[in-house]
Amino acid sequence: MHQIEVRDVTLVYDTPAGRVPGVQDVSFSLEASEFLCIVGRSGCGKTTLLNILAGFLAPAAGEIRIGGKVVTGHGLDRGIVFQDFAQLFPWRTALENVAFGLEMKGVPKAEREGIALKQLQLVKLEKFAQSYPHHLSGGMQQRVAIARALAYNPAVLLMDEPFAALDALTREEMQRILADVWRETRKTVIYVTHNVAEAVFLADRVVVMTPHPGTVKAQVPIRLPRPRDPLSIEFLEYQKELLRHLTEQAAEA
C-alpha cells in the first residue's frame, strides 16, 4: 500500500468571473520516505494541491489518503513549511518556535527543548537557539521553519517553495542542507517548486503540472545517485526533459 494516495482530486474556485478550476482530476501516490517534487508554472494549481494535502482546503471531488486515512483537516501527521519567511512567530526564540508543536502536544518543557535543540542541530542552527527570528537571515529563518515542521515527528513533510525568495547562492546551500536532513530523517516529502533544477537536485520523482485547469502532465523519476552534481550531463538532461514537458503545454495554449 502507498503511504500517500492522491486520487482524482478536483477543486474549483468561485470567482467574480465565474468558476475557475484550480486542480482537476489529479492523481499520484507516494511510497514512504520518497521525495516528490511538484513542478509547474504559477497558476498550475500546485500550491492549491499542497493546501489540500495540508488540510487547509477541502477538495470538491476525489480524496487524499495518508497512511490509509482520508485527510479531512490539518493533523500532526504532516509538517508544513511555507514560502513566506514571516511564518515564524516573532515573539518566540528559534528554540521556542521549534518547540511549538511539542508544546501543543503537551510535552514537558525540558523534554521538548531537548528535542527542539536536536532539530536545530539538524539544520545547523544550534548556535542560534536563543535568537529571535528578526535577528536571523531569510535562509536561517527557513531552516528554523524546517526544524519546526520536523520537531513533532510528522510522517510527511509538505513544503511550498520554501527557498523561492532566497538569493541563488543561499538557495543552493539550503538545498544541500535539506538533502542532508532528508537523508538523516527519511521523511516522506512533497515539495512544490517552479524551479526545475531544484526539483532534479532534490527529488526521487517529479510530478509536472500544467495550468488551465491544473492537471498532472507527466511523472518523471530522477534516477541519479546522491549527492547530485548539478553540472553533470545527466542532470542537465533531466532538466531539459522537465522543461520540455512544461513548454509543450505553453505552446499548445
Binding site: 495540508a54 500532526l76 508544513i80 516573532p90 515573539w91 529571535y132 528578526h134
Partner: protein, 255 residues
C-alpha cells in the same frame, strides 16, 4: 559622551526657560500673571513641603488609575472579541466609530448628571472616553495578525484556546500597546478637564482652576508642571519599558 546626551536633552528646556525669563522680566504682562521661573519653583517647593501638591496629585492619579484601568480591561477585551467575532464586529464597530471622534468633555455634563458630582462620575467618564482608542486598536491588532501564523499554529495542532493565547494575543500586542498608550493620554486629558468642572474636590485640575480666583498663576504653573511630569513618567517608566521588553525585543516594532 554621557554629558553630551544630557546636554542634548536639556537644550530645548534651557532655550524655552530663557525665553520665559525674558518675557517674565520684560514687564509685558503684570508680574502677578506671568511669574518668573524662580517664583514657580518656590511655589512648587512650598506646596510640596506643605503636602498640598502631593495630595492633589495623588487624588488625580488614583482617579486616573481607576478610570484607565477599567478602560484597559474592558477595551482590550471588547476589541479582541470584535476582532474575532463577525457578529460582535457588526454590532459594536458602528457604535465605537461614532463615539470615538466625539470630544470626551462633551459627555461630561451628562455623566455628572447621571452619576452625580464626585469620584464615581469622574472615574466612569474617564473610563468611558479612554476606552475608545483601546477598543479600536485592539480590534485592528487582531485583524492584523498574520494569517500565516494562524495556519502554522493550526497545522501544529493548536486548539482555539492556545491559538488565542499563544498566537493572536502576542501577534496583536503592538497594536494593543499603542491603543493603551493613546487611551492613557485620552484619560489624562479628560480627567484634568473634568476636575476643572469642579466635579470633585481635590485633584490637580481642580487646584489649577481654583487658583484663578486669586490670580495664583504660580500655583497653576506648578500644577501644570506636575501633570507633565506624571505623564512623562508613565510614558517612560511604564510604556517604554513594556515595549522594550516585548514588541521591540521581538522586532515587531522599532524603538
Amino acid at each position: 559622551m554621557r554629558w553630551r546626551a544630557v546636554a542634548r536633552t536639556a537644550f530645548p528646556f534651557v532655550v524655552v526657560g530663557g525665553l520665559w525669563e525674558i518675557v517674565a522680566r520684560s514687564g509685558i504682562f503684570p508680574r502677578r500673571l506671568f511669574p518668573s521661573l524662580e517664583e514657580v519653583a518656590d511655589t512648587f517647593l512650598r506646596l510640596t513641603a506643605a503636602g498640598v501638591l502631593p495630595y492633589h496629585a495623588l487624588e488625580t492619579v488614583i482617579r486616573l488609575v481607576a478610570g484607565f484601568g477599567m478602560a484597559a480591561v474592558v477595551g482590550v477585551a471588547l476589541g479582541i472579541i470584535m476582532g474575532r467575532s463577525r457578529r460582535a464586529e457588526d454590532i459594536f464597530l458602528p457604535l465605537v466609530s461614532i463615539g470615538a471622534p466625539i470630544p470626551g468633555l462633551a459627555y461630561a455634563p451628562l455623566f455628572l448628571l447621571w452619576f452625580g458630582l464626585g469620584n464615581v462620575g469622574a472615574v466612569i467618564l474617564v473610563g468611558f472616553v479612554s476606552a475608545f482608542p483601546i477598543i479600536l486598536n485592539s480590534w485592528t491588532g487582531v485583524k492584523a495578525v498574520k494569517e500565516i501564523w494562524i495556519r502554522a499554529a493550526q497545522a501544529m495542532g493548536a486548539n482555539d484556546r492556545r491559538l488565542f493565547r499563544q498566537v493572536i494575543l502576542p501577534g496583536a500586542l503592538p497594536y494593543i500597546l499603542t491603543g493603551l498608550r493613546l487611551g492613557l493620554a485620552q484619560a489624562w486629558r479628560i480627567l484634568v478637564g473634568v476636575e476643572m468642572l469642579a466635579a470633585v474636590p481635590w485633584g490637580l485640575g481642580w487646584m489649577i482652576f481654583g487658583a484663578r480666583e486669586f490670580l495664583n498663576t504660580d500655583v497653576m504653573l506648578a500644577g501644570i508642571v506636575v501633570i507633565g511630569a506624571i505623564g512623562l513618567a508613565l510614558e517612560k517608566l511604564v510604556f517604554q519599558r513594556l515595549e522594550q521588553f516585548t514588541v521591540v525585543r521581538w522586532g515587531m516594532m522599532t524603538s
